[in-house]
């Protein structure tokens, strides 16, 4: 019987296993996860898990019972230590090892460590344990300083306000979420955070953190110092690839893969999710993404390619990201970076709903940011996938915008 070994109980790992079974895979499937927790979903860690609206059992991706029902051997608390691709053996830190016919690397990424030292009361948000510890600190009250205004930082800041805390967000960039958002939308997002009571200190770097839980001090490069009960550091993530160091696989800030999610030079090894750097045909280069949808879509692709070796499918995603901050449910499709959107529909301040559309310069849509407007988002995602012309997209969306405006004007 063939054996697919999945290293990592991340959403990518779990979805690969489920897609294999759904596709009729009759071999053995093993998921080996370093944590002792049954696999869980990560997006709620910076939101519902912190406010307490969700608990650990609400975010399980695969319970031991579900694993058994799907004939998936779920091994918890086993950390992969090394890989021998030639002999097809993965070994673990408890001294055990497993052979495989197909290997799926789904070890995810870890929060980038604070360069200002490990210190009690300084938190990251990456695991269930991280979220539980942070919730404990936040519910004790006191000021919260969030270092890093990316998606995770901005979500934690919003959650802090929801819990009634005094919140300051600091980032050396001039605006929040600049890796993903164009400057005009980032400015609107910052205004939204400030409206909600978050103090945004942008264009300011952190030079050091001192003190302990409940009495921390964050020193800034403009000479000021912020007092905080809790500090959260959200400054990015690094792929969990250290265990592959001696394997001979090509590593370059992620496991380097071809367009089929296969590790280069190893036809029987796949990588999915945050740890994978795959060749994206559309961009003509290797790309690593840290998004839920990316992991889920790569899992489906890897499972298909394991099941259909003679008919492999290339991974050609339309990037899709969401983030919930205050009363904004923000969804991004495609490439939404740059200085400004080509077209804006709706109004961020007046009706708390808008869409920012980006032309690709070749008569099509490059990307869209949509806030609180699901019907428009659906059209944008379809348009991106189907390559609809810019004129058709704009006309269609203006019609939706008019209909929405009319229905709201009705008494």
């Amino acid at each position: 019987m063939t054996h697919t070994l999945i290293i990592g109980g991340s959403v990518g790992g779990v979805r690969t296993a489920q897609a294999l079974r759904a596709g009729g895979y009759g071999g053995r499937i093993t998921i080996a996860e370093a944590e002792t927790e049954a696999p869980y979903d990560k997006p709620p860690l910076s939101k519902g898990l912190l406010t307490g609206s969700a608990g650990p059992e609400d975010i399980r991706l695969l319970t031991p019972e579900q694993a058994e029902a799907a004939d998936i051997d779920l091994r918890l608390g086993v950390r992969a230590a090394a890989l021998d691709p030639q002999h097809r053996i993965a070994s673990f830190d408890d001294g055990s090892s497993l052979g495989y016919d197909h290997l799926v690397i789904a070890t995810g990424a870890a929060a980038r460590r604070s360069p200002w030292g490990d210190r009690d009361g300084v938190r990251v948000v990456r695991s269930l344990a991280d979220a539980a510890a942070l919730r404990h600190d936040l519910t004790a009250g006191g000021a919260l300083v969030v270092v890093g205004a990316g998606f995770i930082g901005a979500e934690v800041a919003a959650t802090g306000r929801r819990l009634g805390l005094d919140v300051t967000m600091v980032d050396p960039q001039p605006l929040p979420m600049t890796r993903s958002l164009s400057a005009d939308v980032a400015a609107a997002a910052m205004a939204m955070h400030e409206d909600a009571g978050v103090r945004c200190l942008m264009g300011v770097g952190v030079t050091g953190i001192s003190g302990g839980p409940g009495h921390l001090a964050v020193a800034l490069d403009d000479g000021t110092e912020l007092k905080a009960a809790t500090v959260v550091v959200g400054i990015g993530a690094v792929p969990n690839e250290g265990w592959l160091a001696g394997s001979g696989l090509t590593l370059d800030n992620g496991v380097v893969c071809d367009e089929y999610c296969r590790a280069v030079g190893a036809a029987d090894i796949y990588a999915v999710g945050d740890v994978a750097r795959w060749f994206d045909r559309a961009r003509g280069r290797h790309v690593r993404a840290e998004h839920w949808t990316n992991a889920v879509d790569q899992a489906a692709c890897a499972a298909h390619n394991i099941l259909n070796p003679s008919d492999p499918r290339a991974y050609e995603p339309v990037e899709f990201v969401w983030s919930d901050q205050h009363d904004w449910k923000m969804q991004l499709v495609g490439d939404t970076s740059g200085l400004a959107a080509t077209t804006l529909l709706g109004d961020a301040t007046a009706d708390r709903r808008f869409a920012a559309l980006y032309a690709d310069g070749r008569g099509g849509l490059r990307g869209a940011v949509v806030v609180n407007w699901p019907r428009v988002m659906v059209q944008c995602r379809k348009a991106m996938r189907e390559g609809t012309s810019w004129d058709d997209i704009e006309t269609g969306l203006r019609a939706i915008a008019d209909t929405t405006a009319r229905s709201e004007a009705r008494p």
């Binding site: 897609a19 839920w292 969401w322 449910k329 699901p374 019907r375 659906v378 995602r381 379809k382």
Partner: protein, 65 residues
């Protein structure tokens, strides 16, 4: 034959299902899923199941009728 069950309370309007199978799912102005056809013939089942599995909050299930 299978049937779609939607948990409207869980739905958060991500619309992954609509992108996966827009002949079975739509989304209303409040961002809640609308199941256009609850009954799924076997020929469509795999595609509809994939769309349902793409839900970030597991609000959709496809089960035997």
């Amino acid at each position: 034959m299978a049937v779609i069950r939607a948990d409207l309370g869980a739905c958060q309007g991500y619309a992954n299902c609509v992108v996966g199978a827009d002949d079975y799912f739509d989304i209303d102005d409040d961002g809640i899923v609308v199941v256009l056809k609850a009954e799924v013939p076997d020929a469509d089942r795999k595609r509809v199941e994939e769309a349902a599995r793409s839900c970030p909050v597991s609000a959709l299930k496809v089960t035997d009728a």
